[in-house]
């Protein structure tokens, strides 16, 4: 029974990917896409009821339960948004039915790969899953086949591949470190075995391995010196993919990094991964928040905001300790929900206005009040104003870090404030300026966007004790 739940999380997307690749008719396939995503989400919820048994290939613990539920939930809401988004794309002729079929199949393949990466117990399998997720998103980013989309996809492909290659080298080094202790063969790649014996691994080899893993998976997280693919990929692909990239795929790469961090934490002689992560996180926050000021493309702007928030999250996990880990987890959840809600709004806005250029969009609260105020609420949330959830999680990150490293925390706060200024400055004209561009009402599905925002609002005011207890448990696990 329990094994069935785990495999269902993988089988449902895999089967639907195959089905969607052959079925014609975009209305039906869009619905099928939604149904499949919903089924996966419901299945993942049942992980809380049945206790699955972990094997040599698959693993479920409290840490990845959080990630899986978040991933399948946002995949589901994004598929609802995607259905109304692509209808418009078909009508305007930006996508043909053949490409749409491809798009839906890739969407479910991506879900499959992300779920596999999250429940893999084998570090080799995890690497393969992240690689597949990268390749599917590369294909989807390039789907419009314009100059910009091709360039973005090419850049993403090359940088993503290099990152993933470095991560594989790191994985091989981990195996080399494990081999003298746990012996040759499969055990040397099983994460739960590795973490049990990590204390006896050769620390020098582990250090080098972690540097490669940090650079490799860090590229996929979008950390600052390695982020170059991220803004292009977000700006040029279809908006549902931007939402999934920001909200989910970055988290999956982060999850891989966290697994290795847990392994290193067991070995006392190895370097502490914390300071490395804190440094990269801070660089990302400062860099991305400064970049926000000169954005001209609205999707690109929110892509930089994603880099900033991933920086904050990596900073929190780098600090470590139950409190900072709790804050990091909460911030990750809040960011996923908020950022995908923002992309839902931005996607419809770009369709109504026929452009992504900030200068050509204006007076949204007048022309499209629901979308405009929805985006405004999202932006208020993402910059960290009270009473929304991100305020709370950022507050927790800052207050938990302050006692350990006051100066670094000051830098972090500075970055957050710079980002707040940048985003509000840019978004002000879009919201309240002169109405510009077409003013046709949007045929939008508002449900996904407002569901996310309502959850974020609720988290800012009241966190259910069950959730708090669960997150605390995971935070303890992360060490």
């Amino acid at each position: 029974m329990s094994i069935d739940v785990l495999s269902a999380i993988l089988v449902i997307p895999a089967v639907s990917a195959a089905l969607l690749a052959i079925l014609p008719g975009y209305r039906q396939t869009a619905k099928l896409n939604v149904v499949a995503a919903l089924a996966t989400f419901l299945t993942s919820l049942s992980l809380f009821v049945v206790e699955p048994v972990s094997g040599q290939y698959l693993l479920v613990d409290d840490l990845n339960k959080v990630f899986i539920v978040l991933t399948t939930f946002v995949s589901f809401t994004t598929s609802v948004f995607s259905a109304s988004y692509i209808q418009h794309e078909i009508e305007t002729g930006r996508l043909t039915p053949a490409f749409l079929r491809f798009y839906h199949a890739m969407y479910q393949t991506l879900m499959f790969a992300m779920n596999l990466a999250l429940i893999a117990n084998n570090i080799g399998l995890m690497w393969v899953a992240v690689e597949v997720a990268t390749l599917t998103t590369v294909l989807m980013v390039g789907i419009y086949r314009t100059h910009e989309a091709l360039e973005a996809a090419w850049k993403y492909f090359i940088l993503g591949s290099v990152g993933i290659a470095l991560a594989l080298f790191g994985t091989i080094l981990v195996y080399m470190a494990a081999r003298p202790v746990v012996g040759e063969g499969l055990d040397g790649m099983v994460w739960s075995v590795l973490v049990k014996h990590a204390a006896q691994f050769d620390p020098a080899l582990l250090n080098v391995a972690f540097v490669f893993l940090l650079l490799g998976y860090g590229t996929k997280v979008g950390l600052a010196p390695l982020h170059a693919w991220l803004p292009d990929a977000h700006a040029e692909g279809p908006t549902p993919i931007s939402a999934v990239l920001s909200g989910l795929l970055l988290n999956v790469a982060l999850y891989a990094l966290l697994r290795f961090k847990m392994m290193l934490a067991v070995n006392l002689a190895a370097i502490a991964p914390g300071p490395l992560m804190v440094t990269m996180g801070l660089i990302s926050v400062i860099f991305a928040s400064l970049m926000l000021y000169r954005r001209r493309d609205i999707k690109r702007m929110f892509a930089y905001s994603s880099i900033e928030h991933m920086g904050i999250i990596v900073f929190a996990f780098g600090m470590g300790g139950p409190l900072a880990n709790f804050a990091g987890l909460l911030h990750m959840t809040m960011h996923s929900l908020t950022k995908s809600a923002i992309f839902f709004a931005v996607g419809h806005i770009a369709q109504v206005k026929g452009t992504q250029k900030i200068a050509d969009i204006g007076g949204l609260t007048v022309t499209n009040p629901v979308l405009g105020w929805g985006l405004m609420l999202g932006v208020v949330a993402i910059v960290g104003l009270p009473p929304l959830g991100i305020f709370m999680s950022e507050f927790l990150v800052v207050s938990s870090a302050f006692s350990h490293a006051p100066w670094l925390t000051v830098i972090l706060v500075l970055g957050i404030i710079i980002a707040l200024g940048g985003l509000l400055l840019r978004i002000g004209a879009v919201m309240f300026g002169e109405p510009k561009g077409p003013t046709a009402p949007a045929e939008a599905s508002y449900v996904p966007m407002f569901t996310h925002l309502a959850l974020v609002l609720m988290a800012g005011i009241y966190l259910p004790p069950g959730l708090v207890a669960g997150f605390q448990n995971v935070a303890k696990l992360l060490g």
Binding site: L125, E151, W154, I158, F169, M176, E184, V208
Partner: protein, 220 residues
């Protein structure tokens, strides 16, 4: 392990690094592809030797994949693509060949220093293999960075993957899962690249990545 076995493994892995160096100074696409085929052939020999030394028969499969797929099919296919698309056959380097070679020497020295220092516990063959593999990976990165042409960047990436295979086979007893996955990912990567090349061809007159750089959504 006898010293002869070690010496041969050492020789083959060293030849792979040498082939990587040969890639650095090629200025014609066809020549670059030939060097890549040589690179993959040396890899196949090296992996086969590892299979023999470690008495790990499944590694012969990896060697076979390297020989058939990487050393023959991919270079031939890329030859055809270049001919059919009429891609410029000269490679534009971002920096001069002399400087590139110097950088390459530096990278190899770096990987020797790093890998030999952190693996005193491992057996000698694995140590050498890892150090050489890291050199090949870094040289592959260098090829990607210093070339403007999309095809030569892809070749750089594939030579980088060869370095990964060398590392994976050098790590004794590494589960088969990984070898297959490496080969598989190369296959997928190649399909993706093929699609890209054709799409790029549909829209552009050149496969020069610089042509793609023309517009970036934010250029003022």
């Amino acid at each position: 392990m006898s010293s002869l076995q070690f010496d041969i493994a050492h020789l083959l892995a060293g030849s792979l690094v040498l082939a990587s160096f040969m890639m650095l100074y090629q200025d014609r696409l066809y020549a670059l592809l030939n060097v890549y085929a040589l690179h993959a052939g040396v890899l196949a020999l090296s992996v086969a030797w590892q299979a023999y030394v470690q008495q790990a028969p499944h590694l012969y499969l990896t060697a076979l994949i390297a020989l058939v797929f990487k050393a023959i099919i991919i270079p031939v296919a890329l030859h055809r693509i270049i001919k059919r698309l009429g891609i410029h056959r000269e490679i534009e380097n971002v920096i001069g060949i002399g400087l590139t070679m110097m950088a390459g020497i530096g990278l190899v020295a770096l990987s020797m220093v790093v890998m030999l220092r952190v693996t005193p516990g491992a057996d000698a063959l694995a140590r050498e293999d890892l150090a050489f593999a890291l050199s090949v990976v870094l040289l592959g990165l260098l090829v990607m960075v210093t070339r403007r042409n999309a095809v030569s960047q892809v070749v750089g990436f594939m030579s980088l993957e060869n370095g990964l295979v060398l590392a994976a086979t050098g790590a004794k007893g590494m589960p088969l899962v990984v070898e297959i996955s490496v080969a598989f990912s190369v296959l997928i990567a190649f399909i993706v690249i093929g699609i890209f090349l054709f799409r790029i061809r549909e829209r552009f007159d050149s496969v020069d990545v610089q042509a793609l750089d023309r517009f970036r959504g934010e250029r003022r």
